[in-house]
Structure formats: C-alpha cells, structure tokens
Point group: D2
Chain length 139, copies 4
C-alpha cells in the first residue's frame, strides 16, 4: 500500500459544499501514479519504454463521508490483483483516520495501438512487490 497526500481546492468542490463525486476518480489517479512511482516505475516510463498502456475498464466509488474544501486527504492505493493482462487497484481515501471513500479501478494491459497484451513478467514482479494478494475465494 502506498499513501499519497492531497489538499482539496475550491475547484474540487461543488455547491453542496463537498468534493464533487467525479473528482474522487481524479484522486484515485493521483494515488495510482504515486503507487507506480513508489515501485520505481512512473506511468510515463511505462508508456514510453514498455510501449504499453493501462486503460481503465471499470471504476467504482463508494462515498462514505464528505470531503470538504482545504481537507488534507490521504489516498491509500494498493494492488490486490495483477494478472496476465489486467490489474485491479484499490483505494481508500481517509482524513485524520476517518474513512471518506473507497473504490477500485480495473485496468487492461494493452499496446499503444490498443491490442490486449500480457504484462511483461519483470514488470508484474515489480508491481506486486510488497503487495498483499487478494485472498482466493474460499471453497
């Protein structure tokens, strides 16, 4: 798990006085970027060197408590699943220990042209390093 800090600006809020619901996906992206950087791999390098992309296939957010202007939020990003050609990131947004939102994004691994490709094994190794794999479903 990698923690990233973010300060909420006016531009993130809406007239309800809370962070606009779409902006949590921006916060998730910031967390994802820092996750990759912490693994020694920026997403920019990923695109340029590996000639791969990680387009989002699914995203979901569960809103638990409102975040407000000037809040200092922590995005906790983890990678419970990284398979052959896809990866699932999970996110928890917290403020002073209070849970604000949770969510996940599912990404395909594709060539820049769009075709699905296997994750290069060494890359997968680096992404998984230190991460707790998702528990297999019990039978």
């Amino acid at each position: 798990m990698i923690a990233t800090q973010l300060r909420v600006i006016y531009g993130d809020t809406d007239q309800m006085g809370v962070v606009y619901y779409a902006n949590y996906l921006r916060f998730f992206e910031a967390g994802r970027n820092e996750f990759l950087r912490a693994k020694g791999l920026t997403y920019r390098e990923f695109e340029r060197e590996a000639q791969l992309m990680l387009p989002v296939v699914e995203a979901s957010v569960r809103y638990r408590a409102p975040a407000r202007y000037d809040d200092l939020l922590t995005v906790e990003t983890s990678l419970p699943e990284a398979g052959r050609a896809s990866a699932r990131f999970e996110y928890r947004i917290v403020r002073d220990g209070e849970l604000i939102a949770t969510g996940s994004t599912l990404h395909a691994c594709t060539e820049l042209g769009g075709g699905v490709r296997r994750f290069p094994p060494d890359l997968l190794e680096r992404l998984r390093a230190g991460e707790t794999p998702a528990e297999p479903a019990r039978t």
Copy 2:
C-alpha cells in the same frame, strides 16, 4: 428513459486522446439533471422546494469503447429503482448506436442537513412515471 446529447470538448479529453475516465461521471450528472427536468422537476427545485438532496452513495462506470474529442454522445438515463429513501439511476452512453459506457449511481434521499428521509410519495410517483421497474430476481 430520457436521452441527453453532449458534445465532447478538448477539456474532457486526456493525453491518451480519449475522454478522461472521471468525466463520464460528469456526463452521467448531465443525464440525471435532464431526466429530472423531463419529469417536470429540476434538481434545483428539488433542493429548494422539497428541502431535500440526493447525495451520491455509490457510482460505477464500465468503459466499453473510447469517446473522443468532438463526439456527439447521447446519455440514456433511466431510474430502475426508486425506493423509500434511495434511488438508483442507470446510464448508457452511446455514439451513433455504438455503446461507449454504462454505469449507475445510487443516491440517498436526505434533508439539507444530511439526515436520511423518505421520498415524498408524490415525488416518487413523478420520478417513476414511464420508467420500467427493475425486474425482481427470479426464483
């Protein structure tokens, strides 16, 4: 189902050349607003007159094909579930008959102060008018 048209601007795209993943939630909101307006009820009135809000509790998006700059998108918004104190909107974004994204948002019905409240029955009636209820799970 209510259809809303949207034109994609540069500001909606990202450097992958496609609509940024968070912006689909903006498109869903536009669809939701027009859904309410089509039922004779703007969300502005909902807040002011009924002194109620519909904060988002959950949101999810499934990205099926990329939308691009200058695309004319149609957001098809429906309300398959509207219960005592919550409502689920569903969305399909299409471009020339091609499915771009699907998703849903779950909303609570609350007072402006935040406490959960029952939907006023006449309101519920109006929202549901013409909508196909979600099918009950078959047994």
Copy 3:
C-alpha cells in the same frame, strides 16, 4: 458571432454556489468549437486535414455576475482578429440578457510539431466570413 447554449451542471459549480472560475475557459472552448463548426470547419478537421493546431497563447476572463447551477448560458463567440499566424476569439457569456462574463483567447497557428505557420488564406477567409473586424486604433 456564433451563439452556443450550455447548461450548468453541479460539477461546474464550487462551494460558493457559483460556477468555478476556471470553468469559464471550458465554456469558451465550447463556444470556439461551435464557432468553427458554424464556419463549416470543425477543429478536428483543422488538425487532421490542415495538419495545424491553434494552441492558446493567452486567455483572460472578466467575471461580471455569478452563473449558478442549472443556468442556461449562451456563449457568444466572435473572431475580431485573425492575422497571419494568430487569431483572437472574444466571448460574452449571457443568461437571459444579463452579462455574466466576458473574455478572450489568443491563439497561435502552428504545425502539429509546434512551429508557427501562416494561416492558409482560404481558411482565414472562411473564419472571417461574416465577422466584424476589430477597429483599427484611431490616430
């Protein structure tokens, strides 16, 4: 002058209950796109066919009255100056006859690689058609 209509969504507002100041530049872009389309030329074609871009060099906004959620705004876009290798668009945002904001953007004409280029004369002709040129400074 070309008029474009826009509906303000929640995502455009901030916690002051008004449209967030950066979003006027999004509205200007929407106006600019429709200006080009009305001249028979989408910006997408401009990039693809002419292999040219119009990157923004300067932008300014003057905020005169707040726009609010659900407002139906009209962006009036005009092109008072279109010279050899630059163009200045001007914008007026109005709501029911009330002036909400004014502004302008100055654009260079460049190759996709970035080098400044002259506007193709036939293109300039089309853009200027029907537009009132800016008055020269009196001496």
Copy 4:
C-alpha cells in the same frame, strides 16, 4: 512569494498531450491557498471567521511553454497589490527553472452576502508581510 508544488495528472492533460488551458487556473488557486496558509491564514478561516470572501473579478494566463503529464510544477504566488477592497495575486509556474506560465487574478473583498467591504487592516497587514509592493508607474 510562496512556492507550491504540484504533480500533473492525466486528468489535467488534454489530447494535445499538454495541460488543458483551464487547469492553470486550478493551479493558481492551489498557489493562492498555500500563499494564505503561509501567512498564517487559511481561506477557510477567512470565510468563517472574518465572514469575508475574495471572489475573482478578473483572471488572465499567459501560456509560455507546455506542461505535461507527470511534470512536477512549482507555482510561485505573490501579492503585489492589496488595496482597500481588492487584492491582486500574481503567479509564475515553473518546471526545473523553465517558465511555463504566468498570470494574475484580481479579487474583490466582499461580505458573504456579496457587498464589497474594506479589508480588515490587521488582515491586510498579514497578507502584505514580506511581499514586495508593485512599483508605482514611473513618470
């Protein structure tokens, strides 16, 4: 002058591969918030305690070099003018010593209801502390 660091995310860019022009105003806001915090005064306190707001009256940006995804930008915010009932912030965005953009925002000082008000003198004192006043025009 107060320096604030920002990391560019995918959501800040557009399909030209650079930061979308409206987002510089978001970066300016982040710089402005940190300017106030550095002076011992968050904008949140400003609103709550002084019952004052600083709505933007004018904003302008000059784009000098494109910022790109994953860039680490520094927003340098200063307050060259703070008068009776208005304040002008200036911004320089730099990346590794290269100038990316400059701009300014002019703010009124108003009551929460909207009426223009004088800056409380002690507040003005704090904001100006350490700032270089704008030079008067030479004659």
